[in-house]
Symmetry: C2
Subunit: 271 residues, 2 copies
């Protein structure tokens, strides 16, 4: 799926919302625990209810790996269900991978060929030859960590002198990599004020913006500083939607939470 | 397993060799392909033959994930076999993980609790709160990427002015993190000349050194610049050992290759 299609979906649905499936066996409603695969059912019910409000789904691989190969089966079932039932949803494997070339090749196989995700998040630390095995898939997107939303982002990503911010070096240099047109970037919404700087470096790239909701970023500020001619932003929300309710009616609570975000997005898109 | 035990094993076996299981279905001997789980058998045969020559095993998760949940089953079988049969081998999940706190917690669960690896490789980009969920496991080791052995390491890890090398900032800052005593570091052997600098910053840490063999680093130079009072180095070799032969006698070729390295290590350790 290419970004042109994603933009069309955003306009069609009046939404740039990405649903994050950080689905945790310790947090899902207890009535699901008697099912064969509680996490898959939790995911399915959420997507069935919310698909009209969202344009993308982000699956956080850690929450599946915590249950080993059984968790990976749930991951496979979830992505397969989405691809088969809602092919217009843009899918993101939030996996933060990255390794030497022959190894990144295998990760790309796992997520792009075996599971058919549209995109994957990757870490820049090992440089171009760790990312190019992902970028060579022309119908896929590789979402590079830029500025993340956590407290620890201060350790290495930013400097006292903002001219020397390390994340800016990542943005600038990655634009020169082969097939860099297939890049998107992760930029934390808790740093919405940084988005002006970021847009001056990568005006045209799509941004995946986590940190609205549980992590506290403002949607309006994020939109105003992040939007470009292609719209160019996906805002992810995970915990504040999927754990909004905890009873047999949890999808209603999730729907309402997502609907409120989507209403705000509709207003921003049409103002 | 703590490093004191690892040091004792190194002295006992006259070896600081780590066997890297980058086991690729497209590269293993063809006679194994008729088996139920060819990769597990390939791994088992190698470890059964080589366990006296090695002190550690590094399993590269990408090669297993490429086969999805079935690959993860092979991964689980492999680590379980090693833990049950050769408990004195130090095990490394070469996974290059790292994410916000609640997510790294799940990765730590996957590799430390579910699969019982002794250690995992992690990427520093997201900073302290992305690594501390691993570091809090006191009987485990968290192996942080420092200077990697690939060409792309030049993109971000080093600078024209070596004083400003980014990887040095990673080494220095990470030493101040909570439970940093549980850290080890990945340092590519193709950069053995850098090891003096590295040892001046982290004199006491154990180093995992890939890049001897297929990637071309020199064992003697690596040893001389990397060894400390606790010995403090593990040298990994993957492809040059596991793919040394390709027939029904592939373990003999692998043994000879590992034995040659171990002989060199014995000499270095005893000189």
């Amino acid at each position: 799926m290419k970004t042109k299609f994603l933009k069309d979906q955003i306009i069609l649905k009046n939404s740039f919302l990405c649903l994050g499936l950080d689905s945790d066996i310790n947090k899902i409603p207890s009535h699901l625990l008697k099912e064969t695969d509680p996490i898959f059912l939790f995911n399915k019910l959420l997507i069935d209810e919310l698909n009209s409000l969202i344009v993308a789904v982000k699956i956080n691989t850690a929450f599946y790996e915590a249950n080993g190969s059984k968790g990976w089966e749930t991951l496979e079932k979830t992505i397969s269900y989405i691809n088969n039932t809602y092919p217009n949803l843009f899918t993101i494997a939030d996996a933060k991978r990255g390794d030497i070339g022959n190894t990144s090749d295998k990760y790309a196989q796992a997520f792009f060929k075996h599971m058919k995700f549209d995109s994957i998040t990757v870490s820049p630390y090992m440089g171009n030859d760790s990312i190019e095995p992902f970028l060579k898939y022309d119908e896929k997107h590789t979402i590079l960590l830029g500025l993340t939303s956590n407290e620890g982002s201060k350790d290495f990503q930013v400097s006292e002198d903002s001219e020397k911010d390390f994340y800016k070096k990542v943005l600038i240099k990655s634009q020169k990599w082969k097939n860099s047109k297939n890049l998107m970037y992760v930029v934390g919404a808790t740093k919405a004020s940084f988005l002006k700087d970021i847009r001056s470096i990568i005006p045209n790239s799509f941004l995946l913006i986590p940190g609205v909701g549980a992590q506290g970023g403002s949607l309006e500020e994020t939109y105003k500083n992040g939007v470009n001619n292609e719209i160019g932003i996906l805002v992810n929300s995970s915990r504040s939607i999927i754990y909004a309710g905890n009873g047999t009616d949890f999808v209603d609570y999730a729907y309402n939470e997502a609907k409120e975000l989507q209403n705000q997005m509709k207003k921003l898109l049409n103002d």
